[in-house]
Assembly symmetry: C2
């Protein structure tokens, strides 16, 4: 009797036991897809990412996978690789009856997101905000992050600033850059010199070279993510003989696992993955009950993790229980 395997059904303990043992004998297992035909639940979530090159994404996907597994959901992976056109992707995504879709690829347009949503799949855009779109989104707090980095650098005594971006026009690149630049300029300094990397390691190497070869070389570099900052770090050291934390300050964004490796000691504004994933789960679970507010545009605040790649200010340091040291400005920055 199928009720044995259905959640809210009434079966006597006795029948239940019998059915269960018979099932075991026959190696019977309920077919989720047949079930999904009538319940309209597949227990499959789609996750689109453009690449795992940036270690933030494997970390994110792993945490997401573990946490969703606890509530009975699995992730179906879509690697968009940046280059794939949007249209075939929509068909691919919609072919599987996903309970929800998490779009963590900055190359995925909000038009695609809207199309999926209109097809009845709840969509969440992750780390890729289109303010003009009404698709719900979530991201680290790029604005507060950019400002905090700027304030940290100012507190460290820096006077000339550089910025290594991903792609010009990319939303996180833009938000981090403009809040950083604005803060610096509000305090009387010149706008940061900028170069873009296309989000690739090699691109970041080139961009850093461009910036450090200038006759008025910036002595502080903010990179739009750790992956790029790690490249910048190596260029500054190996090619320019600069000692990070002393001759130059280099900061990233994300706090990827390897940022804390002793050879890097990358100071960075964190995206608190635990909190972020918890919030994603909350939003998606709401969406599954058709309670997603389209106007949700969450920004999760992180912290400026202080390590060795940037000069450390005399004050504002806080030692955390997990061993990390963070920096907080005297005045809140929001």
């Amino acid at each position: 009797m199928s009720r044995t395997f259905t959640d809210g059904a009434s079966v006597s303990a006795d029948t239940r036991k019998k059915v269960l043992s018979a099932a075991r004998a026959l190696k019977y297992r309920p077919n989720l897809f047949a079930r999904s035909l009538i319940t309209r639940r597949s227990y499959i979530l789609g996750v689109a990412i453009s690449t795992f090159d940036n270690h933030y994404y494997p970390d994110f996907v792993q945490r997401l996978s573990e946490e969703f597994a606890k509530v009975g959901y699995r992730l179906l992976l879509f690697v968009t690789h940046g280059s794939v056109g949007p249209d075939p992707l929509v068909d691919e995504l919609l072919k599987y009856r996903l309970d929800a879709l998490i779009l963590a690829s900055s190359t995925v347009s909000s038009a695609l997101a809207a199309e999926c949503r209109d097809a009845g799949v709840p969509v969440l855009m992750f780390n890729n905000i289109d303010p003009s779109s009404d698709v719900p989104s979530m991201a680290g707090d790029n604005t507060v992050g950019g400002r905090t980095v700027a304030a940290f650098l100012l507190a460290g005594g820096h006077r000339s600033f550089g910025y290594v971006g991903g792609i010009e026009g990319d939303s996180s690149t833009y938000e981090r850059e403009s809040s950083y630049g604005t803060y610096v300029m509000q305090h009387g300094f010149a706008a940061p010199v900028r170069a873009y990397s296309d989000f690739h390691f090699e691109g970041a190497v080139q961009a850093t070279r461009t910036l450090l070869k200038r006759k008025s070389r910036p002595d502080a570099l903010f990179c739009t993510n750790d992956h790029l900052a790690l490249a910048a770090l190596q260029v500054a050291q190996a090619e320019f003989g600069l000692q990070p934390g002393k001759d130059i300050s280099i900061l990233g964004f994300d706090n990827v696992p390897i940022a804390k490796w002793p050879c890097f000691g990358l100071s960075t504004y964190s995206q608190p993955l635990g909190e972020i994933v918890a919030r994603v789960i909350e939003l998606v679970c709401n969406a599954l009950d058709h309670k997603m507010q389209p106007e949700t545009h969450d920004r999760i605040r992180g912290d400026l993790i202080v390590r060795t790649s940037a000069r450390v200010p005399a004050s504002g340091l806080i030692r955390l229980a997990d061993g990390d040291t963070i920096w907080r400005p005297a005045q809140p920055l929001d």
Copy 2:
């Protein structure tokens, strides 16, 4: 008419066009799960990995995902995280009607694999060989790899050897270690001193310390994978003041993307991902046609990639078109 969306069906071009345009108007899309009920094909493949911490796995999963996407399959992700007991996992895996299952987690037992196979799901064990099991498997060529590393170190003039393993008893740790050790001993040297890391970065740090603190310190360290070798590299440099490639040689296995970062320059025995993924696809596609040979136990040979973390021998160097330099022994090692 449903024949429009079925592959080998006969429809007139005219009806087809009409159906297609009607479908567009109604935003109709075929339901893959309903289809799978009758065709018994879900176009979903399960991939179990224990963690993304070791960069080899995200790289592997990404490539796998991209290549399988080309032939119409998507990956459903199972992160086993090492700790999960096997039984609930089986139920989870079998709930989704996976067309095949790729078990790339060394913590997954071959008993679990056999159980899934008996339930009718073709299974491929990846990088985790149980010779006593008849579940088909695939892995890098650990034996030739271990021997090649040993020969390379010998050619570099090393005389005392160390080994940093993952978990004692893990199949790849075992195979790499024993072929390396055997080769060294066959050439008249003492067996390598060993320490195990539990596959974690911190564990590798500890293991390396143990090895380098010995009064008769090994001057060559082979680590069972790059993730561990990268840790060893940092310990040797920062804590022991040893310059890799000069005072000590450190080798890894896998050739993960960051191994070539200039700050590491890790010499390593590669797992050629392109070839490996192509072979996985071939095997799985055979399995989908129920043509999987259970006796398949492929070993894919890699190359010793020469960079800066180990002394480089005077001869045997070959410059590749992609910019890498590899080392080949005078005599083949198999």
